[in-house]
Symmetry: C2
């Protein structure tokens, strides 16, 4: 791929807010990350305390100080497509928001990337060894995900005791994530011309008790490692019908179950089957098929390194510690046996929005919190 | 349109079974009826007792003997696409079926057309005046229907006291037809990411009581002019869903109501709304919209001309008199104020089938029955 050359200033001299703005202004929609990866690689290779690895359009850098623990600080460098919201602007939004960086990527997630680059450059002797991971293709199909590719090509680079993903959490700590499973509940009938409906069996009508069970179901809240994970179970799609004059012999409802990280995929499937058991018992030929599953991630906040991070973050910024409901790449770390949290600047509800914007104070606060943890002596200066 | 020339033999000399075979072998898929219309027009214009009209690819012919009553004998000349089932073959099927004509159009409905052409040619002094109508585009969109076009262009040619449509009824008399109405029942919710389902309102779940009401509903049987019309009400389509990770804000079930010819379109809509009233009462923002309606046709068998026809058909062939459930062009006659029945050779369940076939004895029996009615003295010879 050919691409324009972009350069970053010396990372040791640039403020994380300004760095966020510079990163946002380098075109980096998923699939077009070469320029920003090149800029990051060049900037990191100039820092003698770091070992740097390039894999595709992912760039990793790590310290090797022989510390007792290692943490990964990670963030994706791609964005969803631009909607006329570049170049980045510094604006003063409402009194509540204060000064913001406005534009694509300010929330998801150049702020988190800028903080990580800033720490990589300026914390030369962290209290724990750190691996920084900047990766591509997070906003598109899961199989393209750069973090997944690194786990396949260079698993040793992701080995760690704890990981922090800089996804937007408005400066709070969001631990682990719920899992997600999709299932198709299919009913089976017998076709007939609708002028003689009594000769058929209507598969759409058979969905009635299935929908009733889903509508009546009250989702559980499951406490895992001290965080309360609220689950969700419901229909996300429905389809059926052959023609306007035919009794349909098939209909299907697609169900999405967001399940607490204490449940395995098998547990989750068994749970859904139990919820639907009475509805399905009366239906001939109905089937339930799992089409897609991604287990969640336990927050792992009982690990000493994680606990130290949380304590530092709360002390430095007054951050809240919450469960993460949506599935994020923390689950990739969890699958590697690495407990992980989300911690980054920006309101996640503004991610991908046309008016995406991030309070500059959040960028500074997240940088301060991470510095307080990685370089406690210097922070105490 | 250019087309191959097809010729029919002198209609006065050819048996209806053989004429059925000849008609089937003239290509006449909907939209390509010119050749068969030309052949029919030429054959009819050679008969001095008939006045002939050509309109597009429809051909009409009528006697004008000053009789007290007039009847229309009608049939469409197009077929659905051929599926390797031409040319027509004479086969001996099962013992129950006996000799059959096998091939596209033998059931729907060249047998009925052949009988009408045979009678047009051979019953030169019928007991009632007769208008024969052979029309195009019955098997496709309703707005192309040749009978509808004639009603617009030449309504006087369809004025009559009674009409017989030669659609396949296996030689029985099927009176009138049920009406058909389609309605869309739409529910309204509020989108949310399915990881935070509690922030949304699931429109698919709202369909549960609607489907339950349809599934529990027991359709009525309504007696109209002495025939029992069995109704049908149920879902023929369902849809909803935005993405696998979204709570949907809209869902819709398409309902088809087949209603007795004693109900008007307004009555039918009110009936469906009553059936769904309890289900809809609990739903905010749900709507019911009629998207399509075609009222039915009363059989009108109490009219003296119709009664005489039925008596003659029953006497000649032992025909049963039944209601028609499916919507047919008899409803077009009904809309013109002309009571109408379906009466033709061939099992309607074999219409459009790859193994479409018609017992030759049914063609003969229908011709005999109609002759007994139109020319009672000659039939008694």
């Amino acid at each position: 791929m050919t691409h324009a050359t972009a350069m970053l200033p010396d990372l040791r001299t640039v403020d994380p807010v300004e760095l966020t703005r510079l990163l946002c202004d380098i075109p980096s929609v998923s699939g077009d990350e070469a320029a920003i990866a090149d800029a990051i690689e060049v900037a990191l290779r100039s820092l003698p305390h770091l070992e740097v690895l390039r894999d595709g359009d992912a760039v990793l850098a790590r310290t090797s100080l022989g510390r007792a623990s290692r943490v990964v600080v990670a963030g994706h460098i791609d964005t969803v497509p631009v909607q006329g919201n570049l170049p980045t602007q510094v604006r003063t939004a409402s009194a509540a928001e204060g000064e913001v960086l406005w534009g694509r990527g300010t929330v998801d997630m150049k702020g988190g990337v800028a903080v990580a680059l800033h720490l990589a450059a300026t914390v030369t002797e962290p209290a724990v060894d750190v691996t920084y991971a900047f990766y591509d293709h997070e906003e598109v199909e899961a199989e393209l995900n750069g973090l997944g590719r690194i786990a396949r090509h260079h698993p040793d680079w992701l080995a760690a005791d704890f990981a922090i993903l800089g996804e937007p959490t408005a400066g709070h700590v969001e631990g682990g994530c719920n899992g997600t499973m999709r299932l198709e509940v299919a009913t089976a009938g017998r076709t007939a011309h609708s002028a003689r409906a009594w000769r058929g069996h209507n598969a759409i009508h058979d969905l009635a008790p299935v929908l009733a069970a889903l509508a009546a179901h009250e989702s559980e809240t499951v406490t895992v490692d001290g965080l309360d994970y609220r689950e969700g179970l419901g229909a996300v799609g429905i389809g059926g019908g052959i023609a306007g004059n035919m009794i349909p012999d098939a209909a299907v409802v697609t169900v999405n179950y967001r399940f607490a990280p204490s449940r395995s995929a098998d547990d989750a499937e068994a749970y859904v089957r139990t919820v639907l058991a009475d509805a399905l018992a009366g239906l001939d030929g109905a089937t339930v098929t799992v089409t897609d599953v991604a287990p969640g991630a336990r927050p792992g906040l009982d690990h000493p390194v994680a606990a130290a991070f949380v304590a530092a973050a709360v002390a430095a910024t007054g951050a809240e510690v919450n469960p993460k409901y949506g599935w994020t790449d923390v689950a990739r770390f969890s699958a590697l046996g690495v407990p992980a949290v989300n911690f980054g600047p920006g309101d996640p509800n503004l991610a991908h929005a046309d008016d995406e914007r991030c309070p500059t104070a959040q960028i500074t606060a997240v940088a301060t919190a991470l510095r307080a943890w990685l370089a406690p002596e210097r922070a105490a200066d």
